[in-house]
Symmetry: C2
Subunit: 468 residues, 2 copies
């Protein structure tokens, strides 16, 4: 149990504000006996462009999964996979000794055989992809490896799930699309917020027409990551103002992006649910965006004011590129507007800042309230919970019990379950390569817009017209 | 009392959601005995560019005020002025018989002599400006008259207060600035939200440095105005889907703007407080903006679904220009970003959507919560009320009792009080012509940006460099 207490492995990213959701082994064991039933996928994802609903590979009742990158996020996936009776984790690639040690302990704890490990440098994952019998891989490495590894996995014919980030270039997004189309191998973009309980209930209400025609949506990533971007090299979160090679976990690589890049570096938690509600690539698409960044002050202030930092600390001399608040407006082909918030350097509460607004009503998550014309009082906010309960998405109605204790309020259970069921059935990914490309593209496009003084920048049509 | 019940005169604009704040005659009478003490003006407004703090005209203990436009907003001002012992309302110009009737009743009710009325057409206000002994005028006419009338008042040497709106052109903003500079006559921009109790408390906290260096602010005008934009020609609000000449109150003229224009038509309620917090024209300025509009659906839906409307109603054939949600991002010279929301055609709760965010904390009004690093719990929203009480602005500390029952939660009392005190003292306007020009300019600039696909558009520097 020491390990469980020390490393909140299923909650690497938002563990700070979500301590109450830390995995509870007892609940997990209880619920894992029920696991395996198919997830009803998000309603919006029903019909993506132009791919067979069931792929060539035969339906399987049990699959072998490989993990590329077994940091805390990869460990969370391993943990959820090992609790199921319909999959085995037979291969793991990572190069961090401490993370590998944690990983081995998860297998030991679960009473499962250790997988084959690929630890011989950054390219050893290519050998993992050659391991016989692998049905799928999940990629949870630092951002810069995602595309290279996903492309290699698709070329190896292995169903690939790839973790969220933002792209570095538009070319990279095209690489994903082109490789998927060339190989026919599916890519499932592992955006867990699309499975959040309130988000799926609202999606259900959207698809029932309760908000009328959608007009304006907002979302984002607003999370004080200063404890994540800096640590002392020992603990994963906080305790110092160091980052880079000598540190541990995300500070090792993620912080560099804040030093060098100015844009929405992490768009998909906010954009994914919004895109599904807006039927992006199912009759709609993102047409253009414009972004604006505030000054970059938060990380410098954090270093200067930290007990382990101070004005004379070497990191206090750095000039950070990333504006503390980056705001992006996106225009859709069907006329809707979207606002995306990115805000990770300042003291603030966690909030993805969702807003869903149509001709018949509005929901916001920051005040957990809504107004639906004719159903709630005019001109007043009504607490949303009653509606979230009443219109709970069928997937959550069916499986909420199983998700108890899983990461990020349970949504990670739904994400992994959906991925596994898609792989088993040989089905098209619920969140596919076109979704991935368009959502990831926000990062380089927002960088371009900011670099040009908030110029409007066009989105490529990654579906080549098939969104229509 | 019938009149008071039928016409919520001090609450014409937001009476629907604010019924609890409707004027209470008993409170008013009680508090009016205390009226007259000088208002401590918003902290941010202390030092505007390059004008003498006290103007040439001698200090007066009592002033004569003229009202140009005595619709509901003008009547609200008259009502507040007549309750004071330091001013008389000696002139009123309007052309609407029903509004003039209401106006006469306010004077009768207050036991005050009727003013001289100027009712002979739209240009009769020019004769009002020649009336001997006038110290100030307040302009509360439809938007298109504001600049023409303010310019004429300044040319007549009369201290002018002018109501909020958005400009039609940048030239119009320059006209205000140029006339003020040529004549030396003050223009006070009557933006009441700068006097809102929570806004002034937050401003107080901002000026004490409690939010650290400001980085990102939001505000706006988010108010379901469908009942305001349409009526039945009898009542002021709702009851039909008519607008234009045959209707009453704002539907008579305001609705035309939604039909023909696409931009942030009403920017100053949100922008005024934000500008004061950001020291705009006191060392900072707005540099550029970009705007995006959603589809325009709300007003058409309202007409089609209204019992007095329907698909065959002539107004159901109209194509509305104004996007239901218009979002504007503004970049400041000192690097801060601002987001402005405009949202008046949809079913929604009233919310100006304020957000004030700096290196040390964040406040939002939609959830009435804040986080101040070191003073509140990390990563959590804390209810703001305790801080709003503790850091109440000195003006509200001193005069809150007097404002009980005044329009818009009491803030109108502070607005009118500040205006009257500035006129009496011959002081520079708290919210001056440069503020007015920059805030009003958002409307034509946002129209231009939207027309160019959300292009970034530059703000003129109305201070000609003196903001520095």
């Amino acid at each position: 149990m020491l390990f469980v207490r020390k490393v909140p492995r299923t909650l690497a990213k938002i563990y700070i504000q979500n301590k109450q959701n830390m995995p509870n082994r007892r609940n997990f064991l209880k619920s894992s006996a029920l696991a395996g039933a198919a997830l009803t996928v998000p309603a919006a994802a029903a019909a993506a462009p132009d791919a067979p609903a069931v792929l060539k590979n035969a339906r399987k009742s049990k699959i072998n999964v490989g993990i590329i990158g077994s940091g805390f996020r990869g460990q969370s996936h391993i943990d959820l996979l090992l609790r199921r009776d319909d999959c085995e984790v037979t291969a793991v690639a990572d190069i961090d000794a401490r993370m590998l040690d944690y990983t081995r302990k998860i297998f030991a704890k679960a009473g499962k055989p250790q997988p084959k490990y690929y630890t011989d440098g950054e390219q050893d994952y290519r050998n993992l992809l050659q391991q016989p019998g692998l049905d799928a891989v999940m990629i949870a490495t630092p951002w810069r490896f995602h595309t290279e590894q996903a492309v290699a996995a698709m070329r190896a014919g292995i169903y690939v799930g790839t973790e969220v980030c933002g792209a570095f270039s538009i070319d990279e997004c095209w690489q994903l699309v082109n490789t998927q189309e060339e190989t026919g191998t599916q890519l499932f973009f592992l955006e867990n917020v699309c499975y959040r309980r309130d988000v799926m209930a609202i999606m259900n209400m959207v698809k029932k027409g309760m908000f009328g025609e959608l007009l304006h949506l907002e979302g984002g990533y607003q999370h004080d990551l200063r404890h994540v971007k800096f640590n002392d090299g020992k603990e994963a979160y906080g305790g110092g103002v160091e980052f880079g090679e000598k540190t541990f976990h995300e500070a090792k690589w993620r912080t560099q992006h804040s030093l060098r890049r100015n844009g929405d570096l992490y768009p998909t938690h906010g954009l994914g649910p919004v895109a599904q509600m807006l039927d992006i690539h199912r009759g709609n698409r993102f047409v253009s965006l414009t972004s604006m960044a505030s000054n970059a002050r938060g990380l410098h202030e954090y270093i200067v004011n930290h007990p382990q930092g101070g004005e004379n600390h070497p990191n206090a001399k750095l000039r950070w590129a990333l504006g503390d608040k980056v705001t992006t407006m996106i225009k859709c082909a069907n006329g809707e507007s979207v606002v995306l918030h990115h805000d990770t350097n300042l003291p603030r509460p966690y909030s993805l800042g969702f807003r869903v607004q149509g001709t018949k009503g509005i929901w916001m998550d920051v005040n957990k309230s809504l107004l639906i014309e004719g159903l709630t009082e005019d001109h007043k906010w009504t607490p949303a919970q009653e509606f979230l309960d009443k219109y709970e998405h069928p997937a959550w109605q069916k499986n909420a019990e199983k998700a108890v204790g899983a990461g990020h309020g349970g949504m990670d259970w739904f994400l992994v379950d959906d991925f596994v069921e898609c792989v088993k059935a040989g089905k098209k990914a619920t969140i596919d390569v076109y979704d991935a490309a368009a959502w990831l593209a926000v990062t380089p496009l927002s960088e371009a817009s900011i670099a040009q003084g908030s110029a409007a920048v066009a989105f490529p049509d990654f579906t080549r017209g098939r969104w229509i």
